[in-house]
Symmetry: C2
Subunit: 341 residues, 2 copies
């Protein structure tokens, strides 16, 4: 049984191809009785229009691409990404877009994939999860290809590119200030990698908080992690000799690793050492001690990114759009706030 075409439906309903097309696309200029008849035939036959033909004729594919560049390994360690993907997928469902997923692991992958994402005919727009230095190239190639593009996470060079981000500086400033207000004086940080804007921004907020509270920035209280549990674990080990009494970790998963290291070193949480994480994903509440953390609206973030992209597709690329979302400090046990009665 060959696939049905518009023409088949038209014949069966006794109308023309154009009329069936109008019915399908919800044009108002169809007599009610005719619409009903056509709809019936469509129902009975289970006809669905061919996506490729539609795309070719209308120059609109109703497909968005999600590119996750080079972050692949982290992608599967940090629950942040699945949550982001969830928000994006939900928005795509909502707005009737199909989501194409591109996991770019290697340079070869990038070369293979680039033609597919840069040319109309497959995608109407592209979402790139980024903030890493290594992602700059693909972003610029995309910008030059005039493909509607939204970057999730501020890119290093952001002139002319639309992106969505959270206020990382403010968020970590608040988190660290909270620790200081609780009386902690040797506040350490496990920062994200310096080749990422998230890493840089959260570190900046940390420094700013210390500074504004009259505390000195001590390099031996700053370690760098890679957003993995084991990265947090070893960062914490390197921090231990400096005897911190609090740690602000740039992600929950690193905080979890760090707490494991602290526990192994015989420290009591939060009595001897306090912890604040970042993300507020479910894992934050799963360890024996509930993690105080910065809640970022990951799912909504993804959802909003899609809305931004659709805006670009429908209303043109200029001016570039910028969206900064808010965060909230969620106080639980690991920061020791409950110690002060």
């Amino acid at each position: 049984m060959a696939e049905l075409t518009l023409e088949d439906i038209a014949r069966q309903a006794g109308v023309s191809r154009s009329t069936v097309s109008r019915v399908i696309n919800g044009s108002p200029n169809v007599r009610e009785s005719v619409r009903k008849r056509v709809l019936e035939v469509i129902q009975q036959t289970g006809y669905h229009p061919n996506a490729a033909a539609r795309t070719l004729a209308s120059q609109r594919s109703w497909t968005l691409g999600l590119v996750l560049p080079h972050s692949v390994s982290v992608f599967f360690t940090d629950p942040y990404f699945p949550h982001l993907t969830k928000g994006i997928a939900q928005a795509c469902n909502q707005y009737n877009y199909t989501l194409a997923l591109f996991l770019v692991g290697t340079k070869e992958d990038e070369e293979k994939i680039f033609p597919r994402i840069s040319r109309k005919g497959l995608l109407d727009g592209v979402l790139v999860q980024s903030g890493h230095h290594g992602d700059q190239q693909i972003i610029w190639r995309l910008v030059n290809s005039k493909m509607p593009l939204v970057v999730a996470g501020r890119p290093f060079r952001s002139d002319g590119v639309s992106y969505i981000d959270i206020d990382n500086v403010k968020a970590s400033y608040n988190a660290v200030s909270h620790l200081i207000r609780l009386g902690r004086r040797r506040v350490a940080t496990i920062a994200g990698p310096a080749h990422s804007t998230v890493g840089l921004d959260r570190r900046e907020g940390y420094v700013k908080a210390l500074y504004e509270h009259g505390l000195e920035v001590n390099e031996s209280l700053i370690a760098e992690g890679d957003f993995t549990e084991s990265g947090g674990y070893s960062a914490m080990q390197s921090l231990l000799p400096a005897k911190p009494d609090a740690v602000f970790a740039a992600s929950d998963i690193m905080a979890i690793g760090a707490m494991r290291a602290a526990r192994e070193a015989g420290l009591r949480i939060p009595h001897d050492i306090a912890f604040v994480g970042f993300d507020d994903l479910p894992i934050a509440t799963l360890s024996d001690i509930q993690l105080t953390t910065v809640r970022q609206p990951v799912v909504q973030f993804g959802y909003k990114a899609v809305e931004l992209l659709i805006d670009l597709i429908e209303n043109g690329l200029n001016p570039p759009r910028r969206v900064i979302m808010d965060t909230e400090l969620i106080v639980r046990d690991s920061c020791g706030a409950s110690l002060q009665s």
Copy 2:
């Protein structure tokens, strides 16, 4: 700047549309000098063929769909899914397919998405992650639509459908036998939901192991979890009164939750109570005590599923293909094997 077409390249290279098409598709019947000239023009102009036009003309989209039905909530709790997705994406990259991701949360989602996946023109084939009872309907609709389909995880009704799975019965039989061999006599299980084939099969292996080792099956030693950490946690709490000396959990994440509950109840692991998980994802080695677990080749599983699907696409749907992959018991600390010196 409008997008370039085949015709443009043909004109610039002084050949016909057909010849350019041949060059792009690697046809051998092109004079070498001509091929070189055309390739040069393509290079210079940065031309890429339009995917929609190609799909329409060749009836091949080079796109595969991955459908994750109803499991959405678990999807973002259990790292199994990201890993599976990784394998699938890698295979797609390898074989030059684009991956379209469909997260089906609600019945409405299913209705919205079904037309897109069932009709040629968008997808060449579909992969459904399944094993849940609620997924039967979409699988059968897909089977009836004659769309090439591979189910990842044995579906409830498997006649005529191609699927890939691991030998869950054997795997859990081995895991439980291992615990018994170590001298545990009150072996409990935290099974997966009874509305999933994984849940059922792993439970069956558990029962079989007890039976073959002459132990009685005690209903109070069987609890059901939902593949989440907190599900494992509460399942363990319900198991505690029956005083198990070992627990086989149907997933690592549930084992982690269960161990948390056991620890909170003052039990020492593995001295008082041993644990074996299932999956061997990175989390298995991240807790304070290393988890003994059944390793299943999740990434390769996804990869293989794609290869299966491509086989169906290229060589026809019949007979249905079946692939069962092997697992391996990874012995670490939580089972107490190291206690026997």
